[in-house]
């Protein structure tokens, strides 16, 4: 099992997010994060899905995404050079004593202070999901009043366009036979 990052371009029609989410639930895959937003092309949205599965499982997810009528293109960035970014807003409790320490930590993480009042500091941090997790961990001792993460968005590096080829169904390599449906307890 490993984290797989998939990009899907979808038609921006009502219910499309439901179709994608329903697919993951129905095929018994767990979504780590799912983000959706607009692109440079009107009427086309872009999804970034992070799913914890095996290589074979990722192929099944990819093929199933392609099968959805509203999905235009799917790309697995897991094994490609890619950029992944996430944004987090963290509201930390502060006292006059700890305020400067927190501000220093915010600085170390190259986060930005976006709101301050007498009891809290709210910082905006961007970076890889790991960095945001670390930021949260560091601030936790001060007391986190509130926190939100957007979920990861990803993009391939370099100038090569992402492939628009039909889904490549790779055959089993023997080493990775995951998405194991052979458990006896599943038989009826």
């Amino acid at each position: 099992m490993a984290k797989h990052t998939l990009i899907a371009y979808v038609e921006d029609v009502p219910g499309v997010l439901n179709r994608v989410a329903s697919l993951f639930r129905r095929r018994n895959f767990n979504i780590d994060s799912l983000t959706v937003g607009g692109t440079d092309q009107p009427g086309i949205s872009r999804l970034t899905v992070v799913v914890d599965t095996t290589e074979a499982g990722a192929r099944i997810v990819e093929a199933n995404l392609y099968k959805l009528v509203n999905v235009l293109r799917v790309d697995d960035l897991t094994h490609k050079a890619s950029l992944t970014r996430e944004l987090g807003l963290v509201k930390v409790k502060v006292t006059p004593d700890t305020r400067s320490q927190v501000l220093q930590l915010v600085d170390v993480f190259r986060a930005r202070v976006v709101d301050v009042d007498e009891k809290t500091i709210t910082a905006e941090v961007t970076g890889t999901p790991d960095k945001i997790a670390k930021f949260e961990l560091i601030l936790r001792p001060y007391g986190i009043a509130e926190m939100v993460r957007t979920g990861a968005v990803s993009m391939a590096r370099g100038h090569e366009p992402v492939s628009s080829a039909p889904p490549l169904v790779r055959t089993a390599d023997g080493a990775d036979q995951g998405h194991d449906t052979s458990g006896i307890s599943m038989s009826v």
Binding site: E11, G15, I60, A63, R73, A172, I184
Partner: protein, 622 residues
């Protein structure tokens, strides 16, 4: 430009799509469409008695004809009643279009009378679905629905249309409503390198075997498959839904595989060194335990739907595309072969099992379902017959003892296993093929689920022949209880109405038969009757389907037909062979645990039966 109401646009579209019959049930939210129907007399509307029946009829129509079946219902309960039929069509890749009414677009989300989120409810059981709220969008949605339903791997598509969209007017422009589906890719083409690899595997095979599925019927490639088999002398086995795709009389056809498949077929699968899977999806009823499934074999999977490849069984070569096109490209690469040794092995295995075949047995007065079904086949061989079955023991006996030589001559609910499917699907099949005889083979349980559709048959004046295999049990569940739950027959004994009187109450003909010697006369009388006939075949109560691979067990570990033949004794005191370790461990564990919890020991099992292996955990608890 013609301005039409949304309701009229629906019918115009159906007409343009070549629809001649629709199955439906009116109601508030679909009333404008029913009102407009009177202007379109070319399309015949069949009034069903339950919306589930409408979807099964559309499904039966589609499977018998190869065309798209259409079902119509109203919002809310009308639409939710369709769900079972839609799921059935989804699992068996049957092209149907369901049109449902929806409350007015302004009322959506207000919990209005008879409002249900139908696109939400049917999302996981449709190939695609639409919610249409404007009359101008109806034509495109319906055109796309038909296109999606029948292209690629076929399946059900639902179009939910609000009442106001049916009532308001819009320009009807058929050409402008052509499908625009940039993300829909029904057709795939395997790369040439894969063909070369497939051919290499086939050419070097010593023990090849073709697994023939329903895809052969969908792509119309019966002759191409037979040509490939003939070229390299490869035996063929079919799935349940593949029955008929390869003639039963073909020398290459070994019979059905899987849970109740022929023993020699399952043995051959486990021994094969190359499996050529054509338009089938390695369902768990076909594979048994995946961990031990066909371990000796390299697998070639020809399949139109990429999501099926490597889903259950990892394959060595995947040829994704239309079966007929793939075989056209593959066959020139395949070399002639004999495989004499392989055939000899199979024939040895077959010889042993054939002795136990019930067809060779004398009539001893008892009526067995297998006899009834085999006799119906013998008596109707010269006629063009479609058999529609339900789900359960009778379905398996039909698959074993009725020999189908033509594609689309067996219609059965395979993937979803829907009880109540048979009668309505048969009515749909009769509308598709009025010139053919349509037989329903159904259990007394399943028949009672949708027997209301007898009224539909009567009102439409159509003839289907209903053979109820009546054993006063939910037979297949009873068989499982006998084999795996120590004969605790919980909720399986079942009474029914007097089926003869029931038929007569519907102004149809009813017959009863409880002796094998009467089967011939009963069938002949049925064929001579102009009306729908319901036959109550009162058969042995506790008869079982053999051979059987228990769920999750290895494919070649079958519970076999008893040597001392079951057909010669009363079903209740027979012995059957449970091979050692036939049950997977988890199953015996669960069984042992259940016993401890129930405070019951092994009481009713016959002494000769090998006791299930007690597991350590179960022992310690005792």
């Amino acid at each position: 430009m013609k301005k039409l109401t949304g309701a009229e646009i629906i019918w115009e579209c159906l007409q343009k799509e070549g629809v001649d019959v629709v199955f439906g049930y009116p109601g508030g939210a679909i009333l404008p469409t029913y009102d407009a129907m009177t202007k379109y007399p070319k399309i015949h509307h069949v009034l069903v008695r339950h919306e589930q029946g409408a979807t099964h009829m559309a499904d039966g129509y589609a499977r018998a004809s190869g065309k798209v079946g259409v079902a119509i219902a109203t919002s809310g309960p009308g639409a939710t009643n369709m769900v079972t039929g839609i799921a059935t069509a989804m699992m068996d890749s049957s092209p149907i279009v369901c049109i449902t009414g929806q409350v007015g677009s302004k009322a959506i989300g207000t919990d209005a009378f008879q409002e249900t989120d139908v696109t939400g409810v049917t999302l996981p059981v449709t190939k695609h679905n639409y919610l249409v709220t404007k009359p101008g969008d109806i034509a495109r949605a319906i055109r796309e629905a038909f296109y999606i339903a029948k292209s690629g791997r076929p399946g059900p598509v639902l179009v939910d249309i609000t009442k106001d969209a049916q009532q308001l007017t819009a320009d009807f422009d058929w050409e402008a409503a052509a499908p625009k589906l940039p993300g829909y890719r029904p057709n795939h083409r395997a790369p040439a390198s894969e063909f070369a690899r497939a051919a290499e595997l086939i050419n070097s095979a010593k023990r090849p075997l073709i697994l023939a599925g329903q895809g052969i019927m969908k792509s119309g490639s019966t002759n191409d498959v037979l040509a490939l088999a003939k070229l390299a002398n490869i035996p063929i086995s079919t799935t349940l839904l593949g029955i008929g795709a390869i003639p039963a009389s073909s020398e290459f056809n070994l019979g059905m595989m899987g849970m109740h498949g022929e023993s020699w077929v399952n043995e051959a699968i486990q021994q094969a060194d190359v499996l050529i899977a054509l338009g089938m999806r390695f369902d768990d009823r076909v594979t048994g335990n995946l961990k031990t499934y066909a371990l000796n074999a390299k697998k070639i999977h020809v399949e139109i739907d990429p999501t099926e490849v490597n889903k259950n069984v990892p394959v060595d070569v995947a040829l994704i595309g239309d079966l007929r096109e793939v075989l056209g490209e593959l066959k020139p690469l395949v070399k002639k072969a004999e495989h004499a040794e392989w055939w000899a092995t199979i024939n040895v295995a077959r010889g042993d099992s054939a002795v136990r075949d019930i067809k060779n047995l004398p009539d001893n007065g008892h009526l067995y379902a297998a006899h009834v079904i085999n006799d119906i086949w013998r008596l109707t061989q010269k006629r063009d017959t479609i058999v529609v079955t339900d789900v359960g023991q009778h379905q398996m006996w039909e698959a074993q003892y009725f020999r189908h030589d033509k594609p689309r001559s067996l219609i059965t609910s395979g993937g979803l296993g829907t009880m109540g499917f048979a009668l309505p699907a048969a009515i749909g099949a009769k509308f598709a093929c009025p010139e053919k005889d349509v037989w329903v083979v159904v259990g007394d349980g399943g028949f009672q689920m949708t027997s209301c559709e007898l009224a539909t048959a009567e009102q439409e004046g159509i003839k289907v022949n209903v053979a109820i295999i009546n054993n006063s049990f939910l037979g297949m569940v009873r068989q499982w209880q006998e084999f795996f739950y120590d004969k605790r027959y919980a909720a399986t004994p079942m009474t029914g109405p007097d089926f003869v009187k029931l038929a007569e109450a519907y102004r149809l003909s009813g017959l009863r038969c409880n002796q094998r010697s009467d089967v011939k006369a009963t069938v002949e009388k049925t064929l001579g009757d102009k009306k729908t006939v319901v036959i109550d075949f009162v058969v042995e109560k506790e008869d079982s389907v053999f051979p059987m691979v228990p769920a999750g067990a290895d494919l070649d570990k079958m519970i076999r037909r008893p040597k001392q033949d079951v057909m010669l004794e009363s079903g209740s005191d027979k012995e059957w062979e449970m091979p050692a370790a036939v049950l997977p461990d988890v199953f015996t564990e669960a069984k042992a645990e259940a016993k401890v919890l129930n405070g019951r020991g092994k009481t009713s099992a016959p002494a000769s039966r090998k006791p299930a292996k007690p597991t350590k955990s179960a022992k310690s608890r005792r």
